[in-house]
Symmetry: C2
Subunit: 439 residues, 2 copies
């Protein structure tokens, strides 16, 4: 019908692709009728010449149509999800999802695994003994009907086009196209059956988007795409220069979330999670405005309802809900080691990417797709940017297990951490957490 | 050693590739160790961000080293070739090669087949009964030693990297990169063992380069690359708005060349061929300057020496040399049909691409790589741009054979020819043949 090399040339020469051409490409590639080498050339041309709003809408729609859209029409409550572009120590899902569910929002959350310096929501959840993340569409819907919250991995037929395209982009230097990122996120989220989406666009040293310009461009593109798709989307651009919260590593991160849901810990992580949850409440119209939403969110913690939702979800997905009260039931590292300040001063920077890579090398994350994860290991940050320290003060606790080459690994971890922490005499303000809201 | 996706990103982000990286890419791809889908993404990134002079030099060198360089060191005479970027009716090789050989230049010519609207030198040559174009390197050298002229197809191990890269570029919209074009031409020409190269860069409606800007950029890039490679290169930018010469189609084109070598025909084709040959003589230092070269070229025709060289070459390659004197020994079409002027006026334009596509549909060229060619069919142009015609005057003779759907084919041929010829009242000058010389 079409000749692929002519469509590649069209995009290369900054011409628009028609709706029919886009459908032909996405379907043909998903079915294996168009070879990888032609699609990768097209993706690179898109990286350079981008897709306009119409093309992006049609590209995303075509992707969605290659798979099943989960039918949540039997659930009458508002269905709102959150997506984060990923950061180090980013675990807001485990806080905002039970809060939103407690406040009357249905949260149908389909998550991925981690790769590289950022952890994956699914990996963190799987720290809980017995928990299942591979759940059929039918069970997913019935858990949502009963508990309003369910957190699963990608089902087999969820946007097959995205699985193929993402794998190809990953090895061809075409991940970093704003339009391709947006189509990947939105196609998956819409296939979950949502009404609205709160997007957390991370910006900074530990994030995919390093500059405000890029973060803003991504946020604007996805908000516009959401409008075209008839979905309510709001994007918050938030700081990812230092790790979010105190704990990094799968089980350790869950513990911090449980503490926050218990009202025991208040920090940057709890603040951001509550704010994202409040936006979910507004999108879902269970609160008239952001102020009302914020007080509902706060109430859900004080009343213990959010914590109950967390336990309900764990139990519904086959996990041991007692982990919430007894952290010894979670994987625990055998050893700890204190990492101390080499000099006196004020912490200027904690490079999130370096900390993330250090955690990965410890076993908390994956270097390759098939790497195994140690759910117990990670870091507990004792200080954050702006804190004053003396030489020798503990900055962080390393949780680690024995293993081959553990000495080498610990050395490289400490080397990375040395690079991550910048201490100087000049006063510094902690970074502003929420930088911009785009809707 | 390297990660291909990181090298793709490097080029994508306008960074320079190192010499080692380039060698790794070219070797890895030629050996099949780097997949097509990564190379096509890199080629598209090169299309957008180009290669600088150093990168292009190293890219070309790495390509050359994937195959054999023909050793012509036993031949002490200057070895000069010509390359054309391709046009309709472009058959200068059959005129300039015997002329240059007659004047003391060794012409080791490795040519390709045609695809699309432009014909291939090899296809034209193969109109001659018995001629062989697949010749071993050893025989190629011995024919050159004896006759100074040999015209063959690509040998098996001539730049294997180019064979793979060209095939990939062809289907991924990455043919049109100036740097990739130059590396492809130069790697093949240098592997022939040449000392110098005259490049005929065609520009206009029937050429690959449609604008002077693009043609100039290609010419400059290849001249600079030649300097880096220690080869003498001169580039002539020449007109390809109307077909070159009078005959289009394989055997028909040979006949026009024989007529020119006999001194019977003088036209744009003979003028250009002689000028290109004169530049070959200057590069090879068998003439001190272009004026002397031009008179040597003219003498080689008048004396009949160039024609003798043509016969020698045909015989040495197993062909029937009598075709030069008796054209009935060449394939002849069964039928002819006159195409006439629909109105009175002056010919403003003969769109070379349309004429080329018409000839292709008649069977003179290949639509696909595996299409079969009819060597007899084609056109004889009776009028050229600037000529005055009356309504009903013959413009062109169509030579055709019977075949399935021949009626349909002839209709579409005439439809294309109608579009190709623009006749109007306003006076028009024939286009300037040689537009610019770059050295």
């Amino acid at each position: 019908m079409y000749r692929m090399y002519e469509l590649i040339k069209k995009k290369r020469d900054k011409k628009e692709l028609t709706s029919e051409e886009i459908k032909w490409i996405i379907n043909g590639y998903t079915k294996g009728e168009i070879p990888d080498y032609q699609v990768s050339a097209l993706l690179m041309a898109i990286y350079f010449n981008s897709l306009n709003d119409r093309e992006l809408y049609e590209w995303t729609n075509a992707m969605i149509k290659t798979g099943d859209v989960i039918d949540l029409s039997s659930i009458k409550l508002p269905k709102i999800d959150k997506h984060s572009t990923g950061g180090v120590g980013d675990k807001t899902s485990f806080i905002l999802a039970p809060i939103a569910a407690a406040c009357g929002i249905v949260v149908p959350m389909v998550s991925g695994r981690g790769l590289g310096h950022t952890g994956g929501t699914l990996d963190k959840l799987e720290s809980i003994p017995g928990i299942k993340t591979e759940i059929s569409n039918k069970d997913f819907v019935s858990i949502l009907q009963k508990h309003r919250i369910c957190l699963i991995g990608q089902t087999k037929n969820l946007v097959p086009a995205d699985k193929k395209l993402y794998a190809l982009r990953d090895v061809t230097g075409t991940v970093e196209s704003i339009q391709l990122i947006c189509s990947s996120i939105m196609s998956k989220k819409i296939s979950e059956g949502i009404d609205g989406l709160v997007l957390d666009v991370k910006v900074g040293l530990g994030a995919f988007m390093k500059t405000m310009k890029d973060a803003r461009s991504l946020a604007l593109t996805i908000v516009n795409l959401g409008k075209k798709m008839n979905k309510k989307v709001v994007a918050l651009i938030t700081d990812m220069n230092q790790p979010l919260g105190q704990n990094i590593g799968n089980a350790l991160e869950l513990i911090e979330c449980f503490d926050i849901l218990k009202g025991k810990v208040v920090n940057d992580l709890s603040n951001l999670s509550c704010e994202l949850a409040a936006h979910m409440l507004v999108l879902g119209k269970v609160a008239d405005n952001i102020q009302t939403a914020r007080s509902k969110v706060a109430n859900s913690i004080v009343s213990g309802e959010a914590l109950i939702k967390m336990k309900e979800m764990i139990e519904a997905q086959g996990g041991d809900p007692c982990v919430v009260d007894d952290y010894t039931r979670l994987p625990q590292a055998k050893h700890t080691k204190i990492f101390i300040a080499k000099q006196k001063g004020i912490i200027q920077e904690i490079n999130a990417e370096e900390v993330g890579l250090a955690a990965m090398s410890l076993g908390a994350g994956r270097e390759k797709v098939d790497s195994k994860i140690d759910h117990a290991v990670g870091f507990v940050l004792l200080k954050k940017v702006g804190d004053r320290v003396n030489k020798g003060d503990p900055l962080l606790v390393i949780h680690y297990n024995d293993g081959e080459r553990i000495k080498e690994v610990l050395e490289s971890v400490q080397f990375r951490l040395d690079r991550a922490f910048k201490i100087d005499k000049k006063p510094v303000r902690p970074p502003k957490l929420i930088k911009e809201i785009i809707r």
